[in-house]
Subunit: 337 residues, 2 copies
């Protein structure tokens, strides 16, 4: 499970807790702090938990930074983390900082819950629909952005993408990673989700497999559609599929929730994700959610069909994103008939 | 405070939580795991909390270790951590592991408490007695042990200590660091402790100062006695006091609890620490506790008197340790008259 659930000695309550830490992957320290916090909280949100009682911050300062660099970067990193925590309705009350060769940022999120506050991720049934709440391709976008300064790498992809498009995709990935999955967590209750997880290091298929393996019923997950940040599919193809994006195993950071919803609820979930917005930092950025597959009777595994439909998700703020029914409405359902 | 205390939304309960992580300082990975766990739990014990509902483990594997080294060391490290958690009546249900230039080990300890389960560290009154539950000098012992292989360093101290004594002191420090402060936490309730903290990176005086600064009453802490692992005082002198051991600022790892006790309870606390044993791993190792100072009216600071009495604490298992009234009975009280 994404979080551990510990029954407490007191009145039917449970402690739900998760930790995560990693290395910076975007250049802006403030945004990196937000991403780290969103990534930690996401494990609670994946269980439909919308509240968090406490956060701790885990940090290491790089020994390779000089005093001035530390004084500029670390307060911004911490502020980003704190701001995202505040957006999650919680605060950071402690933590630990060390010196290390590399910068590390992460945290611990804890909440004490009544049983009705969380959704155990094991209730999928045949006929459910799989919904994903953020587009894939964050790893591709972050790497492509680094390649802008590496001619050898850039030459591999310059025929399929412009520098401007890479910068836009990087921005989109950064804002997407910094967006809390809290709205989705709330909607999991409203639309009676049967199970959920979040998509991070193992990629969509990795986490879908984990989730399928935990189901009480004999089900399998079949994925038909892959919503991907615009142009990242082309980049993946141009570099010989090195990210395994179409196989569903490209790592994501602070990815969306993958939710199993009753068939009749999925479209409403997506539509409400759009209208509520899951936007970063209260900036009113649009939210999104896509129907990506179905739950069938099966042996508790997940698979992606041959030639899944690629849904190109344009950057928010772009013309395409501002047209109705482009990124934010649910994609046409896969074989639901 | 050593842990954060978060009032919960449910029935007067509080979430008490702490995290700590650092780099290995002993060679034995199993013992290092135990030390890391004891060090995390110690922040709960310092508040008189004897239970822990959940632990998470934070690990990084060094990228400089080859596959074989990883396979040998990391399972032992994790086992040590788990065994110490089990001794603390809790278990490790989650965590995060990354690859990093250096090995990191640490964790998160969380407990949901009723108000009577923890002792807020702010109730010291003039006349209280200060008790310390582990000897000082772990940093000196660990460094001296490394110097066995560094002739230049070893030459500085070889006139005051034998190799055998350094090895014994290192063993003593390792077992002391791996010992949970849980017994002491329980006795804090039995003997109505007014406040407590644990002694770690800031050294005895650093943590005593922190504790003094938090007191509700206008008090100061005066430290008269320094219980120190045998020979570590001599080593400190021989290397020009480079550790600041006598100033009370030599860093400790997983040090003892510093507890403010009512004057009439302190000797009983020490005597019970001895008879219960605070020993590592149920091996029946002796426990110890020393009266080291008093609480006076003052300006919320701590100080060590000029020429404090050094109490040489012989290694457990040594002849001296097995004689009655050597390490384990409380030292003669400082000016309590």
């Amino acid at each position: 499970m994404d979080s551990c659930v510990i029954p407490l000695r007191h009145g039917g309550l449970s402690l739900v807790q998760t930790t995560d830490f990693f290395y910076p992957l975007v250049e802006d320290p403030y945004m990196m702090g937000r991403i780290a916090c969103a990534n930690v909280l996401s494990d609670l949100y994946a269980m439909g938990i919308t509240e968090c009682d406490n956060m701790l911050m885990l940090l290491s300062v790089s020994q390779k930074m000089n005093e001035k660099e530390r004084e500029r970067a670390m307060p911004l990193l911490m502020q980003g983390f704190r701001d995202a925590a505040e957006e999650g309705g919680t605060s950071v009350t402690g933590g630990q900082t060390v010196v290390n060769p590399w910068i590390i940022v992460g945290g611990v999120a804890s909440v004490v819950c009544q049983p009705n506050e969380f959704i155990m991720p094991d209730g999928a049934i045949p006929g459910d629909v799989l919904v994903l709440t953020k587009p894939l391709g964050t790893q591709v976008a972050v790497n492509a952005h680094q390649w802008l300064d590496q001619p050898e790498k850039w030459n591999k992809i310059k025929l399929v993408v412009s520098k401007e498009e890479v910068k836009e995709a990087y921005q989109e990935a950064m804002f997407s990673m910094a967006t809390l999955n809290r709205t989705a967590a709330g909607l999991m209750h409203k639309f009676q989700a049967h199970a959920g997880t979040d998509v991070t290091g193992f990629g969509l298929l990795g986490h879908a497999n984990n989730l399928a393996a935990q189901q009480r019923n004999e089900v399998s997950f079949v994925i038909h559609n892959l919503p991907i940040i615009a142009k990242m599919a082309s980049i993946s193809k141009a570099c010989g599929n090195m990210f395994n994006l179409f196989q569903g195993t490209s790592a994501e950071t602070s990815g969306g929730l993958l939710v199993c919803l009753p068939r009749e609820q999925a479209a409403k979930f997506c539509s409400e994700m759009k209208s509520q917005g899951s936007g970063f930092g209260g900036q009113g950025a649009v939210g999104g959610a896509w129907i990506i597959g179905i739950v069938e009777k099966g042996d508790r595994r997940a698979r992606i069909i041959d030639k899944p439909r690629i849904i190109e998700v344009p950057p928010r703020g772009s013309q395409a994103a501002n047209q109705d029914n482009s990124t934010t409405s649910p994609a046409p359902s896969p074989n639901l008939s």
